[in-house]
């Protein structure tokens, strides 16, 4: 994994797992470039999740628990989407880890 990624002509430092080193660096373009690394094309559905993650992080300084996330998605986009299956369909490496990386959040650590 490269130690920097280039977004709109600017260099951003990332750690060995591809997460932004400085969380304050994040700009929306970061998500697009990281998605390309993973061969994903970001849609509005992805952005709904990324934006929620950023809002939650802003308030609580941590990514939301999976259940908090699925509940919020269910409320906003309908019950059939309020589950992990839907989130994995958007973020195949896992909503907690892949979506957090795109959103510029630190990687959740521990037994997860």
């Amino acid at each position: 994994m490269a130690d920097t990624i280039e977004v709109d002509g600017k260099e951003f430092a990332v750690d060995e797992e591809g997460y932004l080193s400085n969380l304050n660096d994040w700009v929306p373009g970061v998500a697009g470039v990281m998605a390309k690394q993973d061969n994903l094309e970001l849609t509005d559905e992805h952005w709904d999740i990324i934006n929620f993650l950023r809002e939650y992080y802003e308030e609580y300084q941590i990514a939301p628990a999976v259940r908090v996330l699925t509940k919020a998605v269910g409320k906003k986009l309908g019950k059939e989407k309020g589950n992990s299956k839907y989130l994995y369909s958007l973020f195949p490496y896992g909503p907690a880890k892949q979506a957090c990386r795109f959103a510029g959040l630190p990687k959740p650590t521990g037994c997860v």
Binding site: I62, R67, Y88, A96, K97, T109, G110, C111, V112
Partner: protein
Amino acid sequence: MAKATFEVPALSQYTEVPPVTPDAMAHSAPFKSKDEWQDALGFPGELPEDWQAKAIDKMGDLLGKYRSLRVYMDSCVKCGSCTDKCHYFLGTKDPKNMPVGRQDLMRKVYRRYFTLAGRFFPKLVGAEDFTKEVLDDWYSYFHQCSQCRRCSVFCPYGIDTAEISMAAREIMDSIGVGQKYCNEIIAKVYRIGNNLGLPGPALEDTLEGLEEDVFDDTGVKVRYPLDEEGAEILLVTPSADFFAEPHVDGLIGYGKVFHEAGVSWTISSYASEAANFGMFIGSYANMRKLAQRIREAAIKLKVKRIVFGECGHAWRVAYSFLNTLAGPWDFLDPRYPVPQHICEFTYELIKEGKLNLDKSENDDKVLTFHDSCNVARASRMGTTPGGQFEIPRAILKATCNNFYDMDEDTIRDRTFCCGGGGGLLTDDLMEIRVKGAKPRLDALNNVMQEKGVTHMAAICAICKSQFTKVLPYYGMEMDQIVSLHQLVSNALVLTPGEDDEEPDEDDDLDKNDNDEDTDEAA
């Protein structure tokens, strides 16, 4: 699922012993720890010039402190009994993943510096200098051991490779060669209180959400209290229980069981972590510091009992070491075990007939049970030998109509590790995790084919996360792994509590007070 960049082994009816492929996993090594985390744990950040002398000193220190380590180094007779017992060898074919191969990585250094023959005639006794190449081998292969202790069950001398791996990691940490995954996490517990880094307000928000969910589902107010002074029970559970699936479904179950028991309980934001990664890195000092948080929280919250949630190695630390690490516990109620496992707690209630369980709620599943290694081989539950095997199964049978065990050679004290324990549950070790899961999944696949098993229950946060990740590599579904207390939660018929009948009573669920009528349906 992520695409594999390595070859995923094919499942077979019985796990066969593969022909060896030397160095098949020599490329595997986890990311290194950074200065800030090393510093927080009391370790140097970088390899010093005189690292070799320092490492040998440390080894001497450990050999003096842990008599067992010296016995393990001296007593192997190369009988071969352990060679086909490690899931990582069976999954990777690498002979250094044979338990004896792994032990020999340390044994050859031990012989060189701590035995007479090795000092004078190293070649004759297989002794080797502690070179940088040997150190690199250590870093790679001592991070391909999940410290599950299966090999020790079969060793006629009882050599415990887990303890050797722990000692090796302690020696490496002492010369600045730490692993990112474990050490970042331990540093996070010191800073925030749990492995995930969930601060108090996030915990509070998450627990409030669970109260809402359970009320919506059942019409009964079940509480998930945080930092409530004077509660009878302190629940210490892995932080994954707050964060991940299927873990959280287990946490929901613990809350329902406490509700039915009619006891007050609380989680502590300060000790919001059962896991004790100090054990994985073999560091007594860090293990103790982590365990002390539980003591401090228990005193501050004035609890009378401590109950541990579903977490394998946490239970080993709790059951086997908590008294020496953080005791004496003379301020707790002596009528109860210190600490108690949530399974013991639930099982007692089942025996007393205090839980109204509707097994048909789990009729959409056919269950099997995965014995987690640290519970199976390093602890006990209840008052009789083998309680750690029988109690979880008794709970399963009380909550489900359809239960089948996997092959006897792969359960109870011979259980195969999930492949992600011992500090290996990190993405940079995905290859070893996937390959190491093969023996367990061979056995699971067997009961799926023969008995129609659909789900596997576990009582360890690492097992649950590991299976969620690796099952799809083998063509299985990630949600086939469930928490044991998730099944309890499904089957448990709740009794409306006092506050369900007194809408004016002050609590955190004010907005739900208008829905009191629905309680009648519960």
